[in-house]
Every structure is written in structure tokens, then in C-alpha cells.
Symmetry: C2
Subunit: 589 residues, 2 copies
């Protein structure tokens, strides 16, 4: 048998190795014939090495080399030699050398692949890439992403371990406690008619570990949600899950900031600024119209009800009188935007549910064009001051219902930042958003529901409002936002069974429901629960941001489609009747 | 609000800290009153610290301290003082000091727990411990085990990373490819009537990663099997899963040996011997009667057909003539075993399916008692030589069908080792068992089935027997055995689609079945698959052996019962009709 063990990988050999006898194994990346001499680029995870097979070396060897096709797996023995004068390739790690092959073995052949791995400008459709994921991997970027992902996992674990956190593997087969998203269910064979639920997150387990005295827990935890998928969601995802006892949110912030600093430093070589900025949920909506603002550019929002009510624009005045708002932002140098572009913006915000967007430009000491004529000189001066408008700046204004106005301005702000190239690459702006409302109103079901989850502690100073004015209650919660993405979410937990019970009651859960779903948990809280808090960080999203992609499928080894299908292995699939019978289930048609 | 942030944990304070003002938080472990002074042992994950509350310090403080009950969570401020002369406790990390408390806050109260955490000799039944897992954790050993488990995971990852392995998270929602054990299934809502399967192991994914060129993969992988459980099994378990390309089994052995060496060194401070011993499956059965022998003691088995056929015992002669075997082992100094014990052994092996066990003792130069009279002098001398019997040694012999004889002698050998205290603590004997048969015979279904799994490569020199004499074919497989436990199992994989197809045909899978279950995998193998091999190590079992327990529930945070039930959260449970409807399923009654 041919000994296929490598002496080196395909990215290792350099000038210094010239003269050595080596064994390399890998895939035939490219094959070229030059005047009878065969050149092969041999590929593995580590790089490419050029092989040379000269017809003079031997008839059998040459005939074999002639047979080779793309993606065949071969092993070769030969001597490292210098490339000919002028033929070096400084872009390749091994660009100074080539291998003068004197022995070759074909380890396995390949059918003609559905796309060419070596073609760098290949435009393959997503479905074909997913079906042949293993071939797509060979093209490079996916493997690089998986290696970065591994490196980041190592970094996270080292950091958490250094901070006395213990990684605990929590169960996959748990109890269904529907709240928030839909559970994936697993029928039990031993207990027919009963089901396990796969974890949406290890929330209850990690809190119970605090009750158990573990003190500091973390896990890079697999989580599953049976939701209708969006582009940046997968039915399975990973989160860096953490929980700590006897600590405050300032300690948790410092920990997470240190963790992010380590990740960016070790995995991307970037130095990020800590501590991160803070803003309350209320101020965040006011300034950016969203709870996950992108801070890589300015254009923060300002309300101008107080100015607009002195305008002569009936639209503005009516808006204010009916309880709506007038709000806007300034685009630096935006006076260069054409009327056509501005009218595009109107159509754009219409789709987001508001009636339109108005504009004014600063020329000298006054505002002109658009709705400027409705603002007297004094109000124009106030607007110029409020938005710090310079010559050539543009002001954009929406007058509509508050939350719609916020939404429209947020989208418009981000669109303009992209169009005007205001975003520098490798620019990362972190932000803690704090004091989210504890509840929000589910209009459809006519009941309040938890903004985060029902284990979140109210702000201590708002507890007295719980029963009288629950929608006013703020929570001891915090999100970490990066460049417009929610990266983490966490809170102080309720460590008191009575308070937990009150929250459940506010959520209109009946005593029976509470008991059936969370009875064990309330019981656990009653045996001496330490104050504890924690957070969950979207791990896949962190990798996306590190890499600079907005496609989550690029950072997961075997992703699913938006229909939750694995195109490679064709899952989900039908199963033999026998298995259904064992589970005592029947499929309804 | 009382500031409950700790200045120190409960295991930190030493003589050197005397005079410091500190804040400690934790659980009331024990409370004692001595002449009006209240002593409290405050507990957290890190240790115990003694608190002293003197009535003179303040009425309110003293009244509060008087109220405290076991397992209440408190926070205290005070001064570190030396314990009184003669009151030091050298067994406690903080045994030299105590805290003179000057402020106290009750963070949360506790109901009277169903068992006393502080009671070291407590005998609690397993079900109560599982229901109140969080209280059981506070008792110590479980948390210690979880921390050791975390440490071992860190050690594994560091070692694999240093060896260029990449940890890849493979999907939980995969395709059902029934082979071996029963899958847990997950009904799909988006594709009604279709099911995902939870992974029994990431076998196909890791091989596909090799096809994709990842070269070296590992994962501490969650695996699930819906089997009827034994004491050392759980429906969910973890394995250290690994796969490498272009390598040989010698390289894999070296890697795994290095890994085990690191684990034992870093997590237990023990130096284990490498390289490990090797034995073929055939020789292993011959010498120990099992494929997972315990080598911490001698008493290896020897076949004595050639000697017994010259005996005058019709039982032995008939056994040999009917194709059975005569086999036994020697117990050093076993002549001291009473007739009653020996008769117990007969009853013991009867339960294992053999007719009995015979014995002889060496006295001077001859064998006496039991069946000695059936062996002429010459045969006695041969037996003495073969088993290296000394004065006072005992020979035990079984004459029966081969596999039953092996089973009986294996069990008897292990029983005697335990009874005679032949096993030293912290003694670890590793063994590689190689060349398992590729197939075995499933008498019930009248077909051959894979001994490991259908992706295992035959020994190259046995490939010609595949179609003519498949049960004779040995495989390129290996198990790692430690102290009688199978710790790891691995093999060279088939990297050739045609050979893989032949194996499936031998397993009597129809073309349709092959295509439906493994079509995607055979397709993947056809695009240039590198030679690859790998192994899976039972992670929970490694922790069990490190700790020295034989109860797997001691090394898992939230284990299930033998009925696959979570007693704490009461899972599995019934689910609302609405969820079943969404899945288009009905429960059969």
C-alpha cells in the first residue's frame, strides 16, 4: 500500500525547504499542461502547492498524472525545488517553490463537480451551494469562517474560565414552557402522549444552577426555535449564555466588555474601546427611533414639537394637536441630494406607514426649499441651532404617530448612511441599552406580555407600579447593541418567589397554568435563592460581525434554508410507520 | 438598598486577612448559639466561613441573626478576627479566622428543605435528590463533579486545538438514518408528516467535513439515543468526537494517548503510562473472555482443550468433542477459598448460562480437591505450568459453549478481583483492542449487521472475503478500554463509494433503502474523499472514571431517571392540543 502520510501540509513549504524529499496529499485544484510538462496545484485546508510532473521522470508516472481530473485526491512524493526565475508567486505561501514529483498515488477519484472549486469568481446559486455544502467548503471562505468560529469559542471559554465561570452542559430534552417563541417538541416513546421540548435557551436551568450555588455559570449553548425564519435566523443557533450570583449589573457589564475586547483582539486583532456607552431605552428611542441603533454615524433624531407648533404648516400643527409628533434629523452636506432622491425617500417612508418626509436646506442664515416657507425666521433659527446645521446641510422631518415616526426615521437614517458611505469598514460601536419596559401590550390577545421574559426583575423604584400601572414599570434589563444589531440581552432576575408569582399573575396566567409550567421553578426559588443576573449573547451574530457578513449561513457548518430544510441530507424526511407506532402517533392528512 | 457585593468569597479569608473589613454573602449552613453568642457557618461554592454575632454589637442585628434558619441567603459586613486560642479548624480553608459581624441583610428566606444540606452522613433516596437537584448540588460533590467536568472540557479543547483540530458545531436537527439505536424524532411543523432526528452521534457530519477538506475535526458533541436505559446510560450523553484525514491509526492512537495523558495529568494530577498496550479482538476474547477487559489484576484466561482431552472427566471430553471448549484461570492464593464460596461461584455462573465451574488447588507438586482426580499426573503438571500455579493457588475451569464460557469466566474473574481486593485505587490500565470483526450475525433478523457502523473499513487484506465469507472479515477498527469500560471506539472509514455500496448490500439494504437513507452520503463520497479515520470517546464515562464513581448521574448536571424522566421539571409532559394541531399529529390511545 502507498503510504499517504504527509510530511508537510500544502501551505508549509518555503525556500528554506529546497532540496528536501517530501510527501504531500490533497486535492487536484488545477491542472495545466505546458509543452508536455504537467503542472498541478495541490490543495488542502492549509494552502496550495505546485507540483511538476516531467515526462522524462517515468512513463507510468506521467500517464497517471495525465489521467488526473479536478478534485481527485492524490498523494505524491518528490523533491522541493526552486521555481524558475521569474515564476515565483508572492501571493502564495508556497509561491517560491514547487515539487518535482517522482511518485504518485490516486487515493480517490471524483465525478465532475457541479461547480468548479478553483473558480474564484464563480456565481453559484444558494441552493446548489447548500446541497453540495462539502464542495462549497472546499472553496475556502466557509472553512475560514468555521476556523474563526472555533478560535472565538476557544477565546470565550478561556476568558470565562479565567473569571471563575464554570461551563455546564444543560439538557436538550426539557419541559415545554411555552412563553415567547414556539418550542420544537420530541415525543416520548416510554411515556406515550407526552413530549419533551428542545431548549429555546437554558434560562430556567441556569437560574436553577444559581439556586444550586454554582455561583458563576456559562455555556456556549445550542438553542432551537420553531419560528418562521428570516434571513438572519436559523432554527438552531448558539448563544454564549451566562449567569452570576451576588453581583451587580456593573460587574456584568465589565465582564461582557472584557469578553468582547478579548474576542476582537484575539480573533481579529482589533482594539475596541471599553467601557461601552450607556443609554436608557427611553432616550434610545428618542435619539435613534430604535432600541438597536447603529452609532457608526451621526444623524441622531430630535423632536421639534415645541418649534413646529409655531410654524404655519397645518400638517405640523394638526399632528401635534392630535398627539402625534414632529421629529427629524440633519444630513451633513445633504443639500446636494436631488429632488428625485428626496422624492424616493417619501416613497420609502410611505412603505413604512407614515404619510411622508419633509425637507429644508440651510443656505446662508436661513432654511430654504421644501417646507422652509412654513417656518418663520425665529423658528428657522431655532432649528438651525437644535440640529447644529451648517451651510449645505439638509433637514429631514416626519410628522406622524410616535412609533411610526421613529420607525420611518430609523430606516431612513440607516439608508442614507449606506448611500452616503458614512460607514467605515472595521468600525465597531457598542452600546448598552438599559431600563427596557418590563411589559408590552399584546393588542391581538388583549393582554400584557413580558418584553424580555417573565423572570426579569422590575427596577426596584418601580415595583410599586406593578399592579396599578404595569406598562409604566421599567425593568432591570439591558441589551448590548453593536452596529445596529442586538448582540446580547440580559437582566437582573427575580430572586423572590412572591414577586415572581405577582409577575405571572400580571401576565394573566391562571394558577393552574403557572403551576403546570413553572411550578417546579417557583418551588426552587423558595429554598434560598441568591440575587443573580445574567445575559445571553448571540454567538452566530458575533461571528457574522467579526467576518463582516450579513448572511448567517456563512458562519454555520450545515445551515438550513428559510423553510428549515437541510438540502444536503434532505431533512426533515418521512419515517417508517413502525417508528410512528412506537411513539403512538398518527399523522393527520 | 443593602450592597450585597462580596469583597471575598467564603473560602478566601486567612490569617493574613485579620483586621480587614469585609462583605460576605452566602447560605446559612449551620447556626449555633453559645452562651448568647450566635455562630453561623456561611457557605458558598468556594467554602465556609464562620460568622460571630455578639449580642453587644446591637439589638437589631442580634434579633435579625436570631431569626436566621438553614439555607437562608444573607449578606454580612464585619471584621476578620482570629479565632480564639485552640478553636482553629485546620480542616477548613478559613479555619484560622472568623468574622465579627456588624451589619447583616437577609437576601432571601428558605422553606425548611426536604433534607439537611449540612448533614454529611445524610442518606437521601435518589428520587428525592433528583427532584430537588438544586439542593443536592449545594451538598458539595455534584458541584465538585461539574467543576471537574468543566476543567476536563477545557483541557480537551486546549489539547485538540494545539493539534490543529477545529471544533465544529454540527446540527441537532438531522435526518433519521436508523441503524444501531433508536432515534429521538422531532416533528416538523413547516413540513407536516416529516420528522427530523436528533443525533445519535455526528458520524455522517464529521465524515462530510473530511470530504469538505476540514482535515481535522473535533467536538464535545451532545448525542441522544432513545433506548431502554441501564444504570450507566442516559438518553443524552456527550462524546469527544474526532476525525482526521490523511492519517493512520498509529497517529490517531498517539493523539488519543496524548489526550488521555493530559486529562489525567491536568485534572487529577496523575501520570499515566503511554503508549497503551494493544491486543487484537481475537486475542482479547481468548485471554479475557470479553472485549473490554479490566487489566488492573491478572487472572487471564487460558484454553486447556489440549490438556483436558487427556483427562478422565467425561464432562470435559464431551465438551471438547461437541465443539465446546474448556477454559479457566488461576487465583493466586485462592486455596483459602471455602467450599461454600466455591459453591456460590457455581450458582453465580449458572445464572450466566453455563453448567458450572470446577476447581483444583495446588498442594506440593500436585493438584487436589474438586476435579483434580480426573487429571493424571502428566496433565496436572501441564496445568501447573500453563497457569504458572504456585503452592496454594486455585484453578477455576468452565467447560461449555465458547461464548458462554468466556462470559462466565469474565464475570467470575471480575467478581473475584473485587472480593479479594485486587484493585488498587487510582490505578488505570488502558488497552487498545483492534481488528474487531466487521460484521456480526443477528440471529433474530437472520442477517448480518455492522459490529461498529456501516462506514467502517475492512482490513485491506480481508476485502476479498467480503462477498464469500463476510463474518470472517476483520475491520480496521479499535476500541480503547479502561479498567473494564469501553472508553472510545473508532475506525478507518471507507473512502470509496463502491466499497461503501458493497457493504450496504451485504447488510441486505435494498437499493431504495440505501438511497433514501444514505444516498446523499454516497453522493458526497463520490467527489474526491480523502482517506480518513476517527474515534468517539465517551465523555461522561471519562469523568466517571476520573472521579471514581459508577453512577453516571453524579457527573451530569440535570440527569434523567431510568425511565428517561426529569423529576425536577417533570418532563416529558403533556402539551396543549393547539401545539399538536400545528404539527398535524394525533395521539393514539
Amino acid at each position: 500500500m502507498f503510504d499517504f502520510r504527509r510530511s508537510h501540509d500544502c501551505g508549509a513549504l518555503k525556500k528554506e525547504d529546497i532540496g528536501q524529499s517530501v510527501t504531500l496529499s490533497g486535492w487536484v485544484h488545477r491542472r495545466r499542461d505546458h509543452g508536455g510538462v504537467i503542472f498541478i496545484d495541490l490543495r488542502d485546508r492549509f494552502g496550495l502547492t505546485q507540483l511538476v510532473i516531467d515526462p522524462h521522470t517515468g512513463e507510468k508516472l506521467y500517464a497517471m498524472a495525465n489521467q488526473l481530473r479536478q478534485e481527485w485526491v492524490i498523494s505524491v512524493k518528490g523533491k522541493v525545488i526552486a521555481r524558475q526565475e521569474g515564476m515565483s508567486n508572492p501571493k502564495m505561501k508556497t509561491g517560491d517553490i514547487e515539487i518535482d514529483v517522482n511518485d504518485l498515488d490516486i487515493l480517490s477519484k471524483s465525478k465532475v463537480p457541479p461547480f468548479t472549486i478553483a473558480d474564484e469568481n464563480l456565481n453559484v446559486n444558494d441552493e446548489l451551494r447548500l446541497k453540495y455544502r462539502y464542495l462549497d467548503m472546499r472553496r475556502g471562505p466557509i472553512l475560514d469562517n468555521l476556523i474563526l468560529r472555533h478560535k472565538t469559542m476557544m477565546c470565550v471559554r478561556k476568558f470565562m474560565d479565567n473569571n471563575q465561570f464554570v461551563e455546564v452542559t444543560t439538557p436538550l430534552l426539557g419541559k415545554s414552557t411555552p412563553e415567547g417563541s414556539r418550542d420544537y417538541l420530541v415525543p416520548s416513546r416510554i411515556h406515550p402522549g407526552h413530549f419533551y421540548a428542545l431548549p429555546q435557551s437554558p434560562q430556567l436551568f441556569k437560574q436553577i444552577l444559581m439556586v444550586g450555588g454554582l455561583d458563576r455559570y456559562f455555556q456556549i449553548a445550542p438553542c432551537l426555535r420553531d419560528e418562521d425564519l428570516r434571513a438572519d435566523r436559523q432554527p438552531e443557533f448558539s448563544q454564549i449564555d451566562m449567569e452570576m450570583s451576588f453581583a451587580t449589573k456593573e460587574e456584568l457589564f465589565k465582564l461582557v466588555e472584557g469578553l468582547m475586547h478579548s474576542i476582537f483582539k484575539e480573533c481579529r486583532g482589533l482594539e475596541i474601546q471599553t467601557p461601552f456607552r450607556h443609554i436608557t431605552h427611553h432616550d434610545c428611542l428618542e435619539n435613534y427611533g430604535t432600541d438597536k441603533p447603529d452609532l457608526r454615524f451621526g444623524m441622531s433624531l430630535k423632536t421639534i414639537d415645541d418649534i413646529a407648533k409655531h410654524s404655519t404648516g397645518t400638517l405640523f400643527i394638526e399632528a401635534i394637536e392630535s398627539g402625534n409628533t414632529v421629529k427629524g434629523f440633519c444630513v451633513k452636506g445633504g443639500a446636494d441630494l436631488s429632488r428625485k432622491t428626496l422624492e424616493d425617500y417619501v416613497a420609502f417612508v410611505n412603505l413604512l406607514g407614515v404619510k411622508g418626509v419633509a425637507w429644508m436646506k440651510r443656505q446662508g442664515n436661513e432654511l430654504t426649499t421644501g417646507v422652509a416657507k412654513f417656518f418663520p425666521v425665529e423658528q428657522q433659527a431655532q432649528l438651525i441651532e437644535r440640529f447644529d446645521m451648517q451651510e449645505g446641510d439638509l433637514l429631514l422631518i416626519v410628522a406622524d404617530e410616535k412609533s411610526l415616526t421613529n420607525k420611518a426615521l430609523d430606516h431612513l437614517r440607516r439608508r442614507i448612511a449606506k448611500e452616503r458611505n458614512l460607514i467605515k469598514p472595521d468600525h465597531f460601536e457598542f452600546l448598552w441599552v438599559t431600563e427596557f419596559p418590563l411589559f408590552n401590550w399584546n393588542a391581538e390577545e388583549q393582554r400584557i406580555e413580558s418584553e424580555h421574559h417573565p423572570f426579569t426583575s422590575p427596577l426596584f423604584e418601580d415595583i410599586h407600579l406593578l399592579k396599578t400601572d404595569p406598562l409604566k414599570v421599567r425593568s432591570l434589563s439591558y441589551d448590548l447593541v453593536l452596529n445596529g444589531y442586538e448582540l446580547a440581552s440580559g437582566s437582573q432576575r427575580i430572586h423572590n418567589g412572591d414577586l415572581q408569582q405577582t409577575i405571572f399573575e400580571q401576565l394573566k396566567l391562571t394558577a393552574d397554568e403557572i403551576n403546570q409550567r413553572f411550578g417546579f421553578f417557583i418551588e426552587a426559588l423558595s429554598y434560598g435563592t441568591p440575587p443573580h443576573l445574567g445575559a445571553a449573547l448571540g454567538f452566530d451574530r458575533i461571528i457574522m460581525l467579526l467576518i463582516g457578513t450579513d448572511n448567517i449561513r456563512e458562519v454555520i457548518a450545515f445551515p438550513k434554508t428559510q423553510k428549515a430544510t437541510d438540502l444536503m441530507m434532505e431533512a426533515p424526511s418521512d419515517i417508517p410507520e413502525k417508528q410512528l407506532k412506537e411513539l403512538k402517533l398518527r399523522i393527520l392528512s
